[in-house]
Symmetry: C2
Subunit: 162 residues, 2 copies
Amino acid sequence: MKRAITSDAAAHERVIAIGALAARTGVKVETIRYYEQVGLLPAPERSEGNQRRYGRRHLERLAFIRHARDLGFPVETLRGLLALADRPDMPCDEAHRIAARQLADVRRKIAHLRALEAELDRIAQSCLGGAPVRDCAVIEALAKEQRADSVPLGKRDAGSAC
Amino acid sequence: MKRAITSDAAAHERVIAIGALAARTGVKVETIRYYEQVGLLPAPERSEGNQRRYGRRHLERLAFIRHARDLGFPVETLRGLLALADRPDMPCDEAHRIAARQLADVRRKIAHLRALEAELDRIAQSCLGGAPVRDCAVIEALAKEQRADSVPLGKRDAGSAC
DNA sequence: CTTGAACCTCTAGTCACTAGAGGTCGTATC
DNA sequence: GATACGACCTCTAGTGACTAGAGGTTCAAG
Ligand SMILES: [Zn+2]
Ligand SMILES: [Zn+2]
Ligand SMILES: [Zn+2]
Ligand SMILES: [Zn+2]
């Protein structure tokens, strides 16, 4: 019995393993499996030994997912976008609405971060260092209550990763 | 036997329950308990019936925490900041370094979001809507691969909450 | 045929909370 | 003093979007 897929056939039919798909899209192997698990990427065929074998369609869909995620679309939203992309005859207005919402979201975030930037800058300027902590305006500024741009705790994200 | 704490005594000695502390600081009750659990806020005394009783020190410390969190300092960093605030004789340079790092972080985030904003704006402009999905430039733009500002997956945050 | 990288599944951990179940406490009113 | 009822307690699990690891199997080259 011949193996279902040889490397030669793979090259011809563009059937690739998960590692190759990862390399081509820049999405980690674990993340690809995760996308399959949550239903973003359809489950591919398997080799006789139960390994995933991807085709061109998967590559394209994963590139789509990656790009949309890079742009900050949340996975839930992506689901709608993907469903839409699968129906070429539908009008595209919904896609525009989704993109506009995302843009508005990004702008809100920018506005918020700019407020933080201003306050942090002010705080950082308020003491030049070298003082004992008890006299430091930075520490004092943090200790002071504020009522300005406070946002309900838990829905914020400003200081973690980029 | 008299109760350890009456409401009258509470008013005089400024000993308050967790709900009152939450109301005064704008931090939710659950979050306060969480801060205690992770060691940000020291465990307060308890009433005879095992309920938390907070004093002025807790109020101040929680306000500090809240403000720093609002400014996006991650909890880990906050730990350092609080340790510092507890040592009034130390020089404050470390506090400045922490604040500067946070400011730089916020600025990096802003830069990143501005790049996203530009691309999203370009995409949103590229099709005015009303077309079938197959011809929509928005969908097409998302499907196209990109090599520009891509960031390792999982360390990004652009589209979720504010 | 043997090696070893790549693959598989499953579970748990991340961050900073948030929500809920199921039970106890405190106090105001009767 | 009994009763009501909100506030409080602990503990566990869930969120988003992955990431990391254990422990085992498969593939393809030499
Ligand atoms: Zn200083
Ligand atoms: Zn502030
Ligand atoms: Zn369109
Ligand atoms: Zn792009």
